[in-house]
């Protein structure tokens, strides 16, 4: 297992979201779960905590998270990831799904 944490600059989250937290994905081979929560500090950063079963890809992780923080207004959120070897594309996809879910709720 490899663990790391980092905060990325991001525009603040909309003041109202449908839910206080959202979870996307599952922990399974080649997959991951992303827990996205309101209440991270400060409001202009996305705070990320990653635990991954496959060490050695930190650069790709940080780049993917940084890009997400850049493209989405996710400031003031806390992202916690349990990963079992998901490819970066799934990381981005799950982040987007969790984000959509947080903002819009079920359906």
């Amino acid at each position: 297992m490899e663990k790391f944490a980092k905060a990325f600059p991001s525009k603040p989250l909309p003041s109202k979201t449908a839910k206080p937290w959202a979870l996307a994905g599952v922990v399974g081979s080649g997959n991951l779960e992303v827990l996205l929560e309101r209440g991270g500090k400060p409001s202009n950063a996305m705070e990320c905590h990653v635990e991954t079963s496959i060490p050695g890809y930190k650069a790709a992780w940080l780049a993917a998270l940084s890009d997400f923080a850049h493209h989405y207004a996710a400031g003031g959120t806390k992202v916690t990831i349990n990963d079992q070897g998901a490819p970066p594309v799934l990381v981005t996809l799950r982040l987007r799904q969790a984000y959509d879910h947080l903002i819009k709720g079920d359906k």
Partner: protein, 292 residues
Amino acid sequence: MTGAILFHEQTARQRIASLVDLHSFAELLPPPERLTSPYLAQLGIPVSFDDGVVIGRARIGGKKIYLAAQVGQFVGGAVGEIHGAKLTGLFKAAARDKVPCVLIVESGGVRLHEGSSGEIAIAETMRAIFECRALKVPTIAVIATDIGAYGGIGILSTCCDFRVMTEHGRLGISGPIVIEKWMGKKAYDSANRALVWKTSGGKTKYLLGDADALVHDTADAVRDGISKFLGKSSAVSLASIKARQKELEKRLKKFGATSEPDAVWKGMGVRDIEAASLASGPEFAALAKRGK
């Protein structure tokens, strides 16, 4: 035919969302509480915030239910200490509140990485299920995926009042790979998918009476299947267990020497095996005429 969401492909959370009334699900011990397995953490295996089972309160068609959905992808949906305790607590809550309890099963049984704790948890949950049944609180297991209900969870599923299955669902104790290892490839080729499903799949279980409903592989169909049983319960009585004893004796006598699933299908009233193989849910039930 287009765009149907297959129930067996959904994640546990998606299943819940698509089964219950909109916005009715309130998760108990939700992910932000971060109740994760200390065993897996010690072993360097990824943990999950729900420990492989999502539990909570919800409504289906306006009726209150307790609901659990196992996460098959996470360590095979296997039951560890936390996972098991969540299940036990949920069934106990259902008994306390006299609210039906639905378990969306997807588990290979005890989580080996956590040793005997998971085994005891399954036994405790069985006790809690029977607490519900004694109070005429319906307990319903939904078995709809290939991970299905195996090992201790296979046994546990048979303790519930009702089982709703799809053709993708498998119910048993030992899985095909274990049996193949034990008996040899000749006796059981685990790669023969058609044979595997005819041995443990929903259709055969429905024919034999071990599944109470066989529904299409969609959330809508599963919800209808569940709804049918929400108002019912099958309290354990002397008459019921005596009837069951007879039925199981008869089954063993009739098919005990048979190794071909097709013989079981024919014996249970399926005339056109090929058509029945292709049919699913109620279409199959109609072809089979289980006569229940």
